[in-house]
Structures are given as structure tokens and as C-alpha cells.
């Protein structure tokens, strides 16, 4: 090429300036008269306040055969109270400019409120009503059940969600709650009714076992008074057991193809289980997993996307499933899902899996480089001020810490621990996390097109399922 392509003055890459101090905020911890634990955190400028309510209702507490009842219960909290019908409640809340979300997960359930600070008190009054005096009318519970059944149908058609369901079923024994979807299956959701929801609520929801996290610009707000007038009036005891069975998983290397004739891509989900955040290895695992598949320039995408063009992106991640306190009864420990996920075009399925395994083998053989580890630390530590710019992101992490039985300064300390973690530790952690012969591979795709190529890779026994 003879044409002048650079017509500007080039300057050398600038050096960075002086980093400004930033720390993950330390919440102030207190307890209301009704036993509700409160974590509060003032974030100047954050006009939208985030409130997280953590309910101590682990999915293991759901009655046998009623998987999904925790989800229906937390959603039903806002579908009618002693003061408002379901429609009125939603309208009142939205007149505050507020949003309310509720979901149930393995460690517990969460109700999340976000509202402009000027209407915090109004919105908290509504939230307190939802927690304290939910109606759980037969009609509303029935509606939520039907809505969930419709949702299941929609979700299973999505290849990513279908893969998650299959992986849970493969990894965990059928007796384990973790083997089944968080929001239940068609069979279990169908059995849920208002009486069951009321009983589950009565047994498991009350202020003494719950925590409220309040984060935002609280300037000029007498939060103690506001809380006393709202969440402070929530009453009720809980008596239900919170079982904590040990987590076991079968990570024998194998492949399950969920057949989708005609699919133009294959959804990959490759995983097994690992430790929880209480384990000392956690920072090293985070670093190593980032180097493997945290971003577009990590090892997996460097090959699968940026060299081969097989995919829009493949990610490796660790997701905590349950993380009991270190002194939990029976010495039960928690677990995380360690996984690689993404989608590749159908014709490239075999080659992409082959390359993926080569990346894992190379990593095991040669380890991470110092510069990879350095980049990972600089990113994971450096992005903290960005990641926690909003009140909602801070509240979410504080609530996670509560649910996962971590100390209030866990996130703050994590950055120092990441910075102290060396290349050898990060290598050891990620290699132990993704051993090439102990991975369960779920492929949602066209079995007729991909099975032979996958067979040739020797990833273990292949099973084809439908549905």
C-alpha cells in the first residue's frame, strides 16, 4: 500500500497519572427493635436509593415436591397487602418512581427496591406492608403460578437457559435441590397454591432472620426515624428449619447433547463445581479464571474469537451457589459453579471444542505468564470504582455478603488479597478448577450435525437428549 494512511501527528502512549484513593464502602451495622438487621451506607450524589431485603429462605428449605415455592412466595409479597390490592400496590410504588424485584436463590431470597431518595419513606412504607401483611390471595398466587408455567416454557426454548438446566441435572444427584431449576419445574410449580405459600412464609419469613441493606445519598434523611416508621413495624417469628445438606457433584468427564435440529449455533456450557468464597483459594481462582476466559483478550477468546472467529465470545466464570458460615453445623461447606459458556456456529462445534480443550491443556502444561496475571489484577482491582458507582451495585454486593455469610469488609479486603496473589497461585487455582478430564459438557445444538465431530475429541461418553 503506497497511500499515506497516517496523516496525524503520532504521540507516545501517555503514562498514567496518580491514582486517587478509593475503597469499597464500609456499611454501618445496626438492629431495629423487631430484630431486623440493618446495614446502611451513605453514597454522596446517588439520588436513587437501593434497598435490599435478604430473607433467610434457602431453596433447601422448600418442602419436597414444591420446588419454586420460594420464588412464588417472594413475588407474591407485592401482590396485595392488608392496605392495597395487587394493582393498587404496583401503582403506588410506580408513582414513587420505584422498581421492586424479588427472586429466590440457593442461599436465600431477595427483595430489591430502588427509589428516588425524595420518595424513600413512601416506598419503604409499601415495602414494609409487603413484608408484614401480604395477602397471598388464592387468585394472585394462581396467577403467579400460571405466569411461572408460561415462563418455564419460554425459558426452555432459550438455548442458554436450557443448557443451565441440563448441567444442574447432570452435576448434582437427583435428591439435591441444586439438581433442579431455582424457580422449579412444570411438575413442582403446578402443585403450588396459596395455602402452601402462606405456610412457607409463616415458617421462614420474619424480621429477626432478615437483613435490610440501605444505600444511597442519605443527606437530610433521618433514616432511623424512617426505618422505625416502616420496616420497624414488621412483626413475626420464624420457626422453620433451614436444612444445609452437603453438596456433592459428579464431574465425570462426559457430553450431553440437547438436540435442536436445525439450530445454526451450538450453545456450550462446560462445568463442574468448586469451593465457595470462604476458601482461601478464592482470589487466585478469580484471577486464574479471568485469565482463562474473563474477557475478549483472555486465552479462550484470543483463540476462539479473535483468531478463529468461531464465536461472538466465550466466557469462563465462577458463580457461588451456596456459602455457609465457616462454623456451620456439621462442618458443611459451600460450593460454586465453575463453568465455560458461549455459542459457536454449528459447523465449527467440533473444531471449537478441540481448540477449547487445547487451551486448557496448554494452560495446565505451561501455566499463566506474569504479564497475564498482572493484567488480570490491574483489571479486577482497577475497575472497582467503576463497578460500584451506583447505590444499587453497592447494595447488591453488601446483600450478597450477608447471604453468603461473609464479613462486611469482605469485598474491601478482596482487593488487597487479589493484589497479593501471585502467578503460581493463580495458575494452580485455575488448572485445578478446570481439569480436562473432569468436565461435564452440555451442548444445545443440532445433534445430527455435531455428534460425530464431538465423538472424535474423546471428551467422554456422549448422550443425546431431547426437549
Amino acid at each position: 500500500m503506497t497511500e499515506a494512511v497516517v496523516t496525524m501527528d503520532l504521540h507516545p502512549q501517555p503514562a498514567s497519572g496518580q491514582a486517587k484513593p478509593w475503597a469499597f464502602p464500609a456499611p454501618e451495622r445496626g438492629t431495629l427493635g423487631n430484630g431486623l438487621t440493618v446495614l446502611r451506607c451513605h453514597r454522596p450524589g446517588q439520588q436513587v436509593v437501593a434497598v435490599e431485603i435478604c430473607l433467610d429462605t434457602p431453596l433447601d428449605a422448600e418442602p419436597a415436591g414444591l420446588d419454586g415455592i420460594a420464588t412464588i412466595m417472594v413475588r407474591a409479597l407485592s401482590q396485595g397487602t392488608s392496605s392495597h390490592t395487587a394493582e393498587e400496590f404496583a401503582a403506588e410504588l410506580e408513582r414513587c418512581g420505584a422498581t421492586l424485584n424479588a427472586h429466590a436463590d440457593y442461599p436465600g431470597a431477595r427483595v430489591s427496591l430502588e427509589v428516588p431518595v425524595s420518595r424513600l419513606s413512601r416506598a419503604l412504607t409499601l415495602l414494609a406492608g409487603a413484608l408484614d401483611t401480604p395477602t397471598f390471595s388464592g387468585s394472585e398466587v394462581e396467577r403467579l403460578v400460571r405466569n411461572r408455567l408460561d415462563g418455564i416454557r419460554l425459558e426452555l426454548a432459550n438455548p442458554g437457559q436450557r443448557a443451565v438446566k441440563q448441567l444442574s441435572q447432570e452435576l448434582f444427584p437427583a435428591s439435591a435441590r441444586m439438581s433442579r431449576p431455582r424457580q422449579g419445574t412444570e411438575d413442582t410449580v403446578r402443585r403450588i397454591d396459596a395455602a402452601g405459600v402462606r405456610a412457607f412464609y409463616a415458617a421462614h419469613v420474619g424480621p429477626a432472620t432478615a437483613t435490610a441493606v440501605v444505600v444511597g445519598d442519605l443527606t437530610g434523611i433521618d433514616l432511623d426515624a424512617v426505618l422505625a416508621d416502616t420496616l420497624g413495624g414488621w412483626t413475626g417469628d420464624t420457626t422453620g428449619p433451614r436444612p444445609m445438606p452437603p453438596v456433592t457433584a459428579d464431574d465425570t468427564g462426559r457430553v450431553v447433547i440437547v438436540d435442536r435440529p436445525g439450530a445454526v449455533q451450538t450453545q456450550l456450557l462446560i462445568g463442574r463445581i468448586g469451593p465457595d468464597q470462604h476458601d482461601q483459594v478464592w482470589p487466585a481462582l478469580m484471577l486464574g479464571t479471568y485469565c482463562l476466559g474473563g474477557t475478549l483478550t483472555s486465552r479462550l477468546d484470543r483463540v476462539l474469537r479473535e483468531e478463529k472467529g468461531y464465536t461472538y465470545g466465550v466466557r469462563a466464570f465462577e458463580q457461588v451457589l451456596r456459602s455457609p458460615a465457616p462454623d456451620a453445623a456439621g462442618g458443611v461447606t459451600g460450593a460454586s459453579l465453575l463453568a465455560i459458556s458461549g455459542s459457536v456456529d454449528t459447523a465449527s462445534t467440533g473444531p471449537a471444542l478441540g481448540d477449547l480443550w487445547t487451551v486448557l491443556r496448554t494452560l495446565a502444561a505451561d501455566g499463566l505468564t506474569e504479564s497475564e496475571r498482572d493484567l488480570a489484577v490491574q483489571n479486577l482491582v482497577g475497575v472497582a470504582p467503576l463497578e460500584f458507582e451506583t447505590a444499587a451495585s453497592v447494595a447488591d454486593t453488601l446483600a450478597d455478603q450477608v447471604e453468603l455469610h461473609l464479613p462486611d469488609d469482605y469485598q474491601a479486603q478482596l482487593y488487597a488479597r487479589l493484589a497479593q496473589t501471585g502467578t503460581a497461585e493463580a495458575t494452580a487455582a485455575v488448572v485445578a478448577a478446570f481439569p480436562v478430564n473432569r468436565l461435564v459438557t452440555i451442548l444445545v445444538g443440532d445433534a445430527a450435525e455435531i455428534e460425530a465431530a464431538v465423538q472424535d475429541l474423546g471428551l467422554g461418553e456422549i448422550t443425546v437428549v431431547t426437549g
Binding site: 504521540h11 498514567s16 418512581g97 428516588p116 405466569n147 419460554l154 472467529g309
Partner: protein, 457 residues
């Protein structure tokens, strides 16, 4: 307006200053020292509406090539340097613009400016066949992942093609067709860059914990020598009559899990008072958990699992009001369609109540609080108003314009626009259980943007 929280939105002290370099680059600066981060947002005034027949998808494919290196940045260096500095980044392409952004720890701001300038001024030094071929494959896989391999995934594409006639610049969506992605050449990409990636075709916003004087000096230093380009052709005219005049309709039998009714209504151009009225109308009808459609279809009739309206704001063509209803159980489309039509007619006949207006305006105000509440959101909005309307300050007053809309204006726009003869309709009917074929196709998002890297989400 005593019922609003707008005092905060307005008295938040948000201000911005505007500057222009000799080469035409417009610069918008907004200081905010609450947290030590800075957002760099660069909008190029080019999107898929500039593409010509046979080359759909080029603007978005080109956006990917912007991350493949420039004179002083090797390979994926742009990603590596930003992420290694503790920053995050992405690029997105829509009908009307292409944006690039870096959110940085404040002390790494200069690096982001250097990186953006290097690729604006010297991309062609690094652009080669290898990256073209590679990113062509990546984008085709993006298309498969986001559109072709998810249920209802091509709804947005189909409805857009119905709502804007053949030959209209908005007839095709930014992802483009597989055939056109295959046909794009390296020369197309080079020409696209020369024509559109010039400083006089861009707005740069820098927002956050910045020193404005220092930032201006850096911008002058890194961008100042990049030559302007005078040969850009204006986009094809996107104006259309206010009303389509007849209902356009497509019915699909496909491998979808549930019946669905989707529609796109032709609405006023962004930037007009009527478009703000339309947004309030759509919110009354279909945003949140207590909108008219949600209450009617999901709560009372129980014929739908979800029902809502969204607004795709467009400045260079009519905006689109986006209806998406997924049926519940065995409910059928005609009963849902009749209920929707009844609700639209009711809003056209009588203004919404004060309580409904309060709800809709509070929700929209909240959206603005969220959008302006982060440095990246603020930078993006400043660029948007600068590129599309010539005045970044409009970003700070947008919420006031929404709150100024009256119930009667809402009724009027509903009567004029939310009518059966002004919509494109797409109906999905699942195949009987035994058959398999056709569209596997996910989420019918009115996703206007195609991203450089969406895998992390």
C-alpha cells in the same frame, strides 16, 4: 409539579461546557468529582441508515474493526490497555450513530483519549484482510447468537422491515444480512472509514472526575492534528407520512414456545414535543407492572405472560412504538388483539387520569435519574443531544420536557398515532408439537444496538 422528584434531577448541579477544535471535533466536558472515575464517549455521526443496498451491516462490522489495532496499538491492544488500566469499554452501532466508550479510573483518562485519537487518525495503518475476515466471522456469529438462534430473535428485524418501506434507510437493522456481511470487502471498510471517521463527524464527551483545562489540552494534543474530511454525503431522507395508512401484517409459524403479538407503531420523530407525549402515552399503556396493558392482559384477562410497550426514539425517521405480548397458556391472538385495540382507543378517547400521569412521569423521571446518575450514561446522553440535535445541554433538560407533557397531549398523540392503520404487526404461532423446522429463533428486544463485545453480559 409537587409530586415529582425532579428538583434533584435539576438541582443536581449538572453542567457541561462545549468546545470545538479547528478540525471540527466537538468536545463536551462535564465535571463531577464524587467518585474517581471518568467516562470518555465518542459518537460518530454514522449508523446503519448510511448503508447502501448490498452492504447492510457494514457500519457495525466496521465498528468491530475499530478494536483490531491502529498505528501505535497492536492487535487487541485497545482492549488490553483499557482493561489493564482498570477501565471498561465497548462500542455499539445503531441506525443513527456509532458510539465508543471507555470508563476509566480518573488517573487513566489520558490513555483513553490517546487510544481514541490513535484509531481516529491512523486506523488504516493496521486494518488488513486478516482482521476483516476474522471479524466478519465474529459478527456472523453475533448475528446467529443474538437473532437467529433465539426464539423470536428476528422479530425486531422483521418488524423494522415492515414498518419502513423497501429502500428506506431504516428498512434494515444494524446487524445486516448474512449475504451482505459476506459481500463486504476491505475496500468497503477503508472507504467507510475515510468518509465517516473524521473529527468533524464526531462528538467527544468527557465526564466525571476531570480537570477541564487539562482535558482540553490533552484533546487538542491527541486529536488536534487529525485532518477533517469534507466529502461526507448526508444520509438519505428518512421522513415518511405521519400515518402508514393501513395495517401491515406478517404471520409466522415457527418453532417458538408461545404465541406472540408484536407490533411497531409509527410515531413522531425524536426531539419533538409530540415524541415526549408519545413516550408518556406508551408508559401509561405499557411500561411497568401497573400499566393499562399489564393490568388488563396479565392481571385481569390473564391471557398474557408479559405485555408492554417500548419506544425506539429516532431523529432521522419516525420513531417506533414497540408492542410485545407473549400469550399465556392457550390464549389466542384475536382476543389479545381486540383487548389491545380497546385500550388504545380508550386512551385516544379520554385523557389519562392524574394518578396515571403521575405514575408514568415518575417512571420516566426515574429512568433519567438512572441514565444521568453514572458518568458513562451522562457522557452518552451529552453526545446524543450534540450529534442528533446540535445541543448537548438538552440532555439536562430532557426530564423537564417529559414532566411538562399534559394528559390532553397524551390523549391527542394516542388518538393520532396509536391506531390499527398506523402499525406493522407480527404474529407468531408455534408449530404443532410433532413438527420441527424453521426459525429457532429468543428475546424480541427492540435492541437498537449491536455491540462490539456483548459476551460478558
Amino acid at each position: 409539579m409537587g409530586h415529582t422528584a425532579a428538583q434533584q434531577a435539576r438541582s443536581g448541579g449538572l453542567t457541561a461546557t462545549e468546545h470545538q477544535l479547528d478540525n471540527g471535533l466537538r468536545l463536551v466536558l462535564s465535571e463531577d468529582h464524587l467518585t474517581p472515575v471518568a467516562a470518555v464517549c465518542l459518537w460518530y455521526d454514522v449508523g446503519s441508515r448510511y448503508e447502501i443496498k448490498g452492504r447492510t451491516g457494514l457500519a457495525h462490522l466496521f465498528e468491530h474493526l475499530m478494536f483490531e489495532g491502529s498505528a501505535q496499538v497492536k492487535g487487541n491492544g485497545h482492549f488490553e490497555l483499557v482493561q489493564g488500566a482498570g477501565g471498561s469499554l465497548n462500542g455499539t452501532t445503531s441506525f443513527e450513530r456509532t458510539n465508543y466508550f471507555e470508563i476509566m479510573p480518573a488517573h487513566q483518562l489520558e490513555l483513553a483519549l490517546w487510544l481514541e485519537a490513535d484509531r481516529m487518525g491512523s486506523l488504516l495503518a493496521a486494518l488488513d484482510e486478516e482482521s476483516m475476515e476474522n471479524q466478519r466471522d465474529v459478527v456472523k456469529n453475533e448475528r446467529r447468537q443474538r437473532y437467529d438462534n433465539v426464539p423470536y430473535g428476528t422479530a425486531f428485524e422483521r418488524l423494522t422491515a415492515l414498518a419502513y418501506p423497501e429502500g428506506h434507510p431504516y428498512h434494515h437493522i444494524p446487524i445486516g444480512s448474512m449475504a451482505d456481511l459476506d459481500a463486504a470487502t476491505l475496500d468497503d471498510a477503508r472507504a467507510f472509514f475515510r468518509t465517516n471517521y473524521a473529527p468533524n463527524n464526531a462528538v467527544l464527551a468527557v465526564v466525571g472526575d476531570i480537570d477541564p483545562e487539562q482535558t482540553r489540552r490533552w484533546v487538542e494534543k491527541y486529536f488536534g492534528s487529525i485532518p477533517p474530511y469534507a466529502g461526507k454525503v448526508p444520509p438519505r431522507d428518512g421522513t415518511l407520512p405521519d400515518i402508514i395508512g393501513t395495517e401491515l401484517r406478517e404471520e409466522i409459524q415457527g418453532e417458538v414456545p408461545a404465541r406472540a403479538l408484536m407490533a411497531a407503531y409509527r410515531l413522531p420523530h425524536d426531539g419533538t414535543r409530540e415524541s415526549d407525549a408519545a413516550e408518556v402515552a406508551l408508559t401509561v399503556l405499557g411500561d411497568g407492572m401497573s400499566s393499562r396493558l399489564y393490568n388488563r392482559l396479565v392481571r385481569r384477562d390473564r391471557t398474557a405472560v408479559s405485555a408492554g410497550f417500548g419506544l425506539l426514539r429516532l431523529a432521522g425517521a419516525p420513531s417506533l412504538g414497540w408492542l410485545d405480548v407473549k400469550t399465556s397458556g392457550d390464549a389466542e391472538i384475536p382476543q389479545i388483539e381486540a383487548a389491545v385495540d380497546e385500550e388504545l382507543a380508550r386512551l385516544g378517547a379520554a385523557a389519562p387520569s392524574a394518578a396515571e400521569m403521575e405514575r408514568a412521569q415518575a417512571l420516566l423521571e426515574r429512568e433519567w435519574l438512572d441514565r444521568l446518575g453514572t458518568v458513562a450514561g451522562r457522557a452518552d446522553e451529552l453526545c446524543r443531544y450534540a450529534v442528533l440535535f446540535g445541543d448537548p445541554q438538552l440532555a439536562f433538560t430532557a426530564v423537564n420536557r417529559i414532566l411538562d407533557i399534559t394528559a390532553e397531549e397524551v390523549r391527542a398523540v394516542a388518538a393520532a398515532r396509536l391506531r390499527p392503520d398506523n402499525r406493522a404487526v407480527l404474529v407468531y404461532e408455534p408449530l404443532p408439537p410433532a413438527e420441527t423446522a424453521g426459525e429457532a429463533g429468543g428475546q424480541a428486544s427492540a435492541g437498537e444496538s449491536d455491540e462490539q463485545d456483548g459476551a460478558g453480559r
